[in-house]
């Protein structure tokens, strides 16, 4: 289409708007620039949280006190969790790739409410800064864990209020992003793009956005109640004042379990874009993938109780939650079969994005199967609150969502920045990441089953082998992450100029120049077919 004369267009990176210099970024309402603001902020916070994690690994290299005391360790795992969960994994994919590619993929010039979008970014920034401040202001770092379980979070003398407010503000930002995306998808699809002609990444964002909108207010009010409990001494959750701590756990997990699907659904959406492109084959089971996203979003609401099997809830409700937990595995499995069938018989091109996407399936499956171990009532009692949970969680979140993010970065990098990265360095970094990740978390399954509790700064000597392997893995992973970032940063200046369609994709983002012009499309495209048709007709059009 218009990309043949890509030399003449002005990209969003060079576009001169109302403001100059840094303000043209900080006050931009362009969805692509906001996406990059999120991208940079999240990357910085990610490395802060990674360093906190590595410090914990250092502490755990030997039994007894190694480099820090128990109180410091408590502070570290709390703020590692708060930053990772609320600042990174919940917002990252919708905020970065959703903001950048949702309007492009549905053929729109921007999201429905561009100014609200910028406002969400600033809320996000305030929340993130509050989270970091909680480390330094007041009476020392909060030590409750990211789950803020009462009554301890109401009693702890540390700086819990900052962390609570941080999570509250970040939640509000997440709600507004979700709201924006729902309206964008409802109202701004290009002419001819019916619901079933929409690519699957927007579909996954749609499912995610509904969870963001409908679940996040619950955590908002719950955090407000804990704040009220601390400040005004009200006692909703404090048994000494008649409150009910298990009620807090319910309210907390009513949000925080669906939040896991906020994290992983867009990740699934990203790899769903990657498999067809690198197999040059239409996605297998478009409708099945779409409805499994919605099914995950829906059933995911009703499984929160599986976090509370040992909290003293009734046998009937344990049975119910356990059963539904097994049910929610079904749509996830449907997706896995669809991705593999998409690759089957395709002309597979094992570029870094696909490599990351395949590792996503591998790691996500380990995480998923161990999730069933945890969802089974009897097995849960054995491994509850052990390192097994830590390993399961990180396999889903880092192995799943994290590796899908890396896949997305490598997939869309040429489009976002208009440069190609170095493939060889990307492969090497992948190797470090993949090996480091498995070395880091797999031993946690083993020592977890053997009885190593989570959140302990000390342990019995028999767990040392596992912990040392983990720590080594942690540092291999760190090398991989640094190498990956180095490659991407370097290529931004020195990489070869990216063509409009380096991977021969067929979705709309590949039919506009790299990087995209300010308003994405010179002319809003008209959609006449389903997505992912790698036939001759669509290919001709894109070249």
């Amino acid at each position: 289409m218009s990309n043949s004369e890509s030399g003449t267009h002005i990209s969003y990176l060079e576009y001169k708007g109302k403001y100059k210099g840094i303000l043209s970024w900080l006050l931009s309402t362009d969805h692509k620039r906001i996406a990059l603001l999120y991208f940079y902020t999240i990357t910085v916070f990610f490395f802060i949280a990674v360093i906190l994690g590595e410090l914990m690994r250092m502490e755990l290299i030997a039994p007894g006190q190694t480099i820090m005391g128990p109180q410091t360790y408590n502070g570290l795992f709390t703020i590692h969790g708060v930053i990772m969960i609320f600042v990174i994994v919940i917002p990252a994919l919708p905020a970065i790739f959703g903001n950048f590619f949702l309007p492009i993929l549905i053929g729109a010039k921007d999201v429905a409410f561009p100014r609200l979008n910028l406002f969400s970014y600033y809320l996000f920034l305030i929340g993130a800064i509050l989270g970091v401040l909680s480390q330094f202001a007041g009476n020392g770092p909060p030590d409750t864990g990211w789950t803020f379980y009462v009554p301890y979070s109401a009693q702890s003398s540390t700086n819990v209020i900052f962390a609570l407010s941080a999570a509250f503000v970040l939640g509000f930002s997440s709600i507004l992003t979700g709201l924006n995306f729902i309206v964008t998808i409802h109202r701004m699809r290009a002419p001819g793009m019916g619901w079933f002609r929409m690519p699957l990444f927007p579909w996954s964002l749609y499912a995610t956005a509904w969870i963001q909108v409908l679940a996040t207010p619950i955590i908002g009010i719950t955090l407000l109640m804990v704040i009220a409990e601390r400040v005004l001494n009200i006692g909703f959750f404090d048994p000494a004042l008649g409150g009910d701590p298990v009620l807090f756990q319910h309210l907390f997990w009513i949000y925080s379990h669906p939040a896991v699907y906020i994290m992983v659904l867009p990740a699934m959406g990203i790899v769903t874009e990657i498999f067809p492109t690198f197999s040059q084959k239409p996605v297998f089971g478009y409708t099945a993938i779409l409805f499994s996203s919605l099914a995950i979003a829906f059933v995911g609401y009703f499984v929160w109780g599986h976090h509370m099997f040992t909290a003293g809830i009734s046998y009937g409700s344990r049975w119910f939650f356990s059963f539904l937990t097994f049910i929610v595995a079904v749509p996830s499995a449907i997706k896995v079969f669809n991705w593999i069938s998409t690759m089957y018989g395709g002309s597979i091109d094992l570029k870094p994005p696909l490599l990351y996407a395949i590792s996503f399936i591998f790691l996500f499956m380990i995480g998923g199967f161990t999730g069933l171990t945890l969802g089974a009532l009897a097995a849960n009692i054995q491994v509850h609150d052990t390192a097994f949970v830590v390993a399961h969680f990180h396999y889903i979140i880092f192995g799943g969502m994290g590796f899908a993010t890396f896949a997305g970065i490598h997939y869309w990098y040429p489009k976002m920045f208009g440069r190609m990265y170095n493939n060889n360095i990307a492969y090497i970094a992948w190797g470090f990441n993949f090996i480091g990740f498995n070395l880091l978390y797999f031993p946690q399954f083993v020592i977890g089953i053997q009885g190593m509790p989570r959140r302990y700064f000390d342990y019995l000597p028999q767990f040392q082998t596992g912990e040392v392997i983990s720590t080594i893995g942690g540092f291999i992973l760190l090398i991989g992450l640094v190498l990956m970032v180095f490659n991407l940063v370097r290529s931004n200046k020195h990489g070869a100029v990216a063509p409009a369609n380096p991977w021969h994709g067929v979705t709309l983002e590949w039919q506009i120049p790299s990087p995209p012009p300010h308003e994405n499309f010179d002319e809003i495209p008209e959609i006449k077919t389903r997505p992912y048709l790698f036939g001759s007709s669509t290919k001709d059009k894109s070249e």
Partner: protein
């Protein structure tokens, strides 16, 4: 040409309204959390809740309900007036809405200070010595009416902005999305009160 402008305006309005409706859903869920906590504790301490609710002044509550219901009507009327291009009437009706909201807040102020006078506020010694259920009832009372009052204040700010914009003509017969969305928000504030009022004041 004007037909097309009208079409685009109509499209923008639909988009803006959809966003507002979704936002209202989130507000319902926010208060929903409190209603849930209320339900749990009501079931657990029904006798205490019964006793504590008797302390509330149903007359003030009823008055406030009347104020809010009427204000919901006036704000809806002002929107219709705007659509019929009757600017002065719209302005007047928004003003009446604001006035009713102010009356509501004034009532709330007297109600709360009356409670404070008897040392019935969170964390006070009097409250701590009450049975657990009554303590929780007053906790919920302050939390629910407080959060609701905060929403009334936000609504008042929105209505004031509308007044300025109607005066300067930026909210007019063609562009009344802001007024419409503020009215939706105001109805929500009213709706939530409709549930808070019987739960706290009437079931004794």
């Amino acid at each position: 040409m004007s037909g097309q402008d009208n079409y685009i305006e109509q499209q923008d309005r639909e988009t803006g309204k959809l966003g507002m409706w979704i936002f209202l859903f989130t507000e319902l869920f926010l208060f929903g959390g409190l209603f849930l906590v209320y339900a749990v504790f009501r079931a657990k301490y029904s006798a205490d809740f019964h006793a504590a609710a008797a302390e509330l002044n149903a007359l003030i509550g009823t008055l406030n309900t009347v104020f809010l219901l009427t204000s919901s009507m006036t704000v809806a009327m002002s929107l219709t007036a705007m659509q019929k291009n009757n600017r002065n009437l719209a302005l007047f009706l928004v003003f009446v809405t604001l006035l009713l909201a102010a009356l509501f807040m004034m009532n709330k102020y007297f109600e709360w200070s009356h409670k404070f006078h008897f040392k019935l506020y969170p964390g006070s010694e009097v409250l701590k010595n009450l049975p657990h259920g009554e303590l929780l009832f007053f906790g919920l009372y302050y939390m629910m009416t407080g959060l609701h009052a905060l929403h009334v204040l936000v609504g008042m700010v929105l209505l004031s902005i509308n007044m300025v914009k109607i005066k300067t003509g930026r909210v007019n017969k063609m562009h009344y999305l802001l007024l419409e969305n503020s009215a939706l928000y105001w109805h929500l504030v009213d709706l939530i009160w409709i549930f808070i009022f019987p739960l706290l004041y009437l079931i004794t």
